[in-house]
Subunit: 137 residues, 3 copies
């Protein structure tokens, strides 16, 4: 039995649940997208990787509850592997935020916490976790 899960559901009444999604790193086609922004990876490329993280978040939500059942994306917390002095994390994470709205419309709008980090798992460029509200019936 693995110690962790990709998602956890918390019923909150009225046929709704909070859905917690584990941190999703920038992995596409099984390949980790690594490197620090902006000296190793450009802001534009990091944006594309944030979008990949958001796609992985949406895949987890779909698997756990179905994308049709998303009532709102409540919180998105995103970390960008950052060189010292780099401050464009919001621009990078727009790659994730905009995808949420492209796919889910109004329901995809979310509160966001945009942060930098000097080190991330496997040195991925971006990591994004989320909390959503989903309909359970």
């Amino acid at each position: 039995m693995a110690s962790y899960l990709p998602t956890r559901l918390v019923p909150i009444g009225n046929d709704r649940a909070l859905l917690y999604v584990a941190g999703q790193v920038s992995v596409a086609d099984g390949k980790r997208l690594t490197g620090r922004c902006p000296d190793e990876v450009s802001v534009e490329e990091a944006q594309a990787r944030a979008r990949v993280c958001a796609l992985n978040v949406l895949a987890q939500i779909d698997s756990a509850a179905g994308l049709d059942n998303v009532e709102q994306i409540t919180q998105l917390i995103g970390f960008v592997l950052s060189a010292e002095g780099f401050g464009d994390q919001p621009k990078v994470l727009n790659g994730a935020s905009d995808l949420m709205v492209d796919v889910l419309g109004e329901a995809g709008r979310h509160t966001r916490i945009a942060l930098g980090a000097n080190a991330l798992p496997f040195s991925v460029t971006v990591e994004v976790a989320a909390v959503a509200v989903v309909r359970t019936h």
Copy 2:
């Protein structure tokens, strides 16, 4: 349509809702308060900036639900732009925590996650996000 929101409400029954507040950075009078602690910005000055973040959190709560309707500040997560080896993030973030209690009394007491970061949006000194419980009727 912007992709993100300053707050999101999640009804949890009994005329209550969780209120998620997006990360609020140290901005006062439209001016970003930037720089790393403690080599560019002193602990005392960083404390004042944490207080500014908390004021911005309270303004968002007031706008979304009204400060009179706050039942509890549930979680406060705070990041301090930190030089390596700096470990006084709790002292800095007391500037935010103490303001919550000054304004809200017992309801303002909260669980806290105090952290450092090598990089934050626009190189602000402090960023604080929150989750609260508010009365909705």
Copy 3:
């Protein structure tokens, strides 16, 4: 009156509550376990310190609600004091994750956000915070 609390309970109906646990640092027998991974503290030693953080999280849950009343560990967010280029935060945090399951079984499985940081309070090696669902009757 202290400004912060070790835990906060949020009733969500059906005799259940969300329990937020403040960030717990690696402190054992009153002694802070400090230093950066992997150059000052090995991955194996950091894992043991992550386990200490998880024990402190469980102690807070037990004090607030009783371990017997844990329905699920919903979210675990863990930060490892990291040298640049270090990417084994997941391995370090398995020390915390595995303990949750050792103690609580299936209920201990959780979503996880594993992160690095260049600075943490008092330069501790690991900090772990959590959200759980507990039975309140």
